[in-house]
Amino acid sequence: MEPLLELQGVSVNFAGLQALADVTFNAHAGEVRAVIGPNGAGKTTLFNAVSGYVPTVAGTIHFKGTPIQGLAPHEISVKGVRRTFQNGGLFMELTVLENILAGLHVNIDSSFLGIVLGLGEAREAEREGIARAYRLLDLMDLGAIADQPVKDLSGGQQRMVEIVRTLATDPPLLLLDEPVVGLSPPMRDRMMEIIRRLAGEEGIGIMLIEHVIDLVMSGSDVIVVLSSGEVIAEGTPDEIRQNREVLEAYLGHA
């Protein structure tokens, strides 16, 4: 099977400091791929590089066979790579529904003139967007909170809304930056279940950054271990568990 995402020798520098060095791996559709590593290993930088938020200084990134390095974040998003943010990327002042509608932006097909003049086609496009947003929310049992401002939600609900928002345009690849951090253990399990289902049933390629090692071991198909910006290991949870270098560098016991 052709890989969904191909990274070849990707490097990122911050003011002379090498944040990512020669990162090479492929990610596939229907796969949950965890990126782990100690703080400062370059996990979020890797996501930022793939989604266009930081420039690469070397290497290539291909998505579905076409190069995406050097493209702007919105261009990469339109191609089908969507992401969440570690500190939460929701629009706090807007309601859940409005956040999902913003996620559907590129799918709402109305022209500037149609909008300004209040033409029927523009209003119809907006109505379709609202109906689609409700379908997405209902799928995750979030329909009841559609009109609540996001800032009034619990942390777990916010994480859920952000994931639904990235899913709005049916993207083939999701980058989830710490999707379960701050959640209660039951919520965490539920979130991992949803993530597994998105990969297993919808065939979405998922890369996620996670610190809770048990969740990573039980929930992912492949693990990529980063340390000081380099990939020091890549493999199934079983392979990683037995990898000496990983144990020393990351898990802290040999």
Partner: protein, 326 residues
């Protein structure tokens, strides 16, 4: 099923049509108002557009850009120069003021796009306004400098604008059209993208939204709306003066946005009404009028930090606007 939920349920939308009654009822104003009162009402219409345009940048886009007075002056001088030197009909001068105001908006957006934000954007846009005032003063071969440019009698199509009543009807038409168009824009995916940028610019881009395009669009639309207000102001005052577009004017515009309610079109209208009518009312207390004016602004902001529009929302949730929370 889903159509019966949410902020856009048919019953709520139907209730909000109550706003359409306002301009209809306003049509009778010239039948009982004297020339002076009508002049105040006309000024309110001008400042309604000034505030609607400014609020789009301050409230919706969330940028501290104070080029509004520059847009206002540029709109006024565009209309004045075209009418004085080229005998251009008023209708076309209004269109030209919108276009030139939009271009000025584009120029202001360049600063924001280059990553100049917050206080830096505030000071650079204030400087833009002062620079324009210098241009009006020193371009006296065209602008007549501090004497101001005296307008010839204008007519809107065949309607001569020789008294306040015909001006009122033309201004009301322009205001209703521009406010409705802006409201359509703000309630669409475009308005949503603009407030999304205010809340979290980088995550907005992750949704496939071309943030730079919407920042430019907001500034251009704001400039065009305030440019039209300038075209109205020129005909209202019949003499376009540099001192009408100074720093005090910036404070008044900002006060209207804050007193009305940031990010709300209805708030913009309320702010424009309050801060245009009150100074006129306080004129009967010479020497104290500016003090009273300042006290009113302070009191409103202390007790209604979300502006006059939040009073309306307390009456009924029907008046709750999309993308505006209190």
């Amino acid at each position: 099923m889903s159509e019966t939920r949410g902020p856009s349920t048919p019953s709520m939308t139907r209730w909000r049509r109550i706003y359409y009654l306002i301009p209809v009822v306003a049509l009778v104003i010239p039948y009982f108002a004297n020339e002076y009162l009508l002049w105040v009402v006309n000024a309110i219409l001008v400042y309604t557009l000034v505030t609607v345009g400014f609020n789009l940048i301050i409230g919706n886009l969330g940028q501290l850009a104070f080029a509004n007075t520059a847009f206002f002056g540029i709109g006024s001088y565009t209309t004045a120069i075209l009418m004085v030197y080229f005998g251009v009909p008023y209708v076309l001068a209004i269109v030209a003021s919108a276009v030139v105001g939009g271009i000025a908006g584009f120029l202001a957006s360049v600063a924001a796009l280059r990553g100049i934000r917050l206080y830096y954007l505030a000071i650079i846009t204030l400087a833009f306004g002062e620079l324009m005032r210098w241009v009006y003063l020193h371009g006296d071969k065209v602008t007549d400098g501090s004497d101001g440019l005296l307008l010839p009698k204008a007519s809107f199509f065949w309607i001569p604008l020789d008294s306040e009543a015909p001006k009122f009807y033309v201004f009301l038409l322009l205001t209703v059209l521009v406010v409705k168009a802006t409201s359509n824009l703000m309630r669409s995916k475009i308005g949503r993208a603009i407030v999304a940028i205010r809340d979290n610019e980088s995550s907005t881009a992750s949704l496939g939204i071309h943030t730079a395009r919407y920042i430019v669009l907001a500034f251009v639309w704001s400039g065009a709306v305030v440019g039209i207000a300038g075209a109205m102001f020129a005909v209202l005052t019949e003499r376009v003066l540099p001192e009408s577009f100074g720093l005090t004017e910036v404070i008044i515009h900002f006060g209207m946005v804050l007193v009305g309610g940031t990010g709300s079109i209805v708030g913009s209208v309320l702010g424009a009404i309050a801060l245009t009518a009150l100074p006129e009312y306080f004129r009967q207390f010479p020497g104290m009028d500016e003090l009273f004016f300042g006290i009113v602004i302070v009191l409103v902001l202390l007790f209604l930090p979300k502006g006059l529009v939040s009073l309306l929302h307390r009456i009924s949730p029907v008046f709750q606007e999309r993308y505006y929370r209190d």
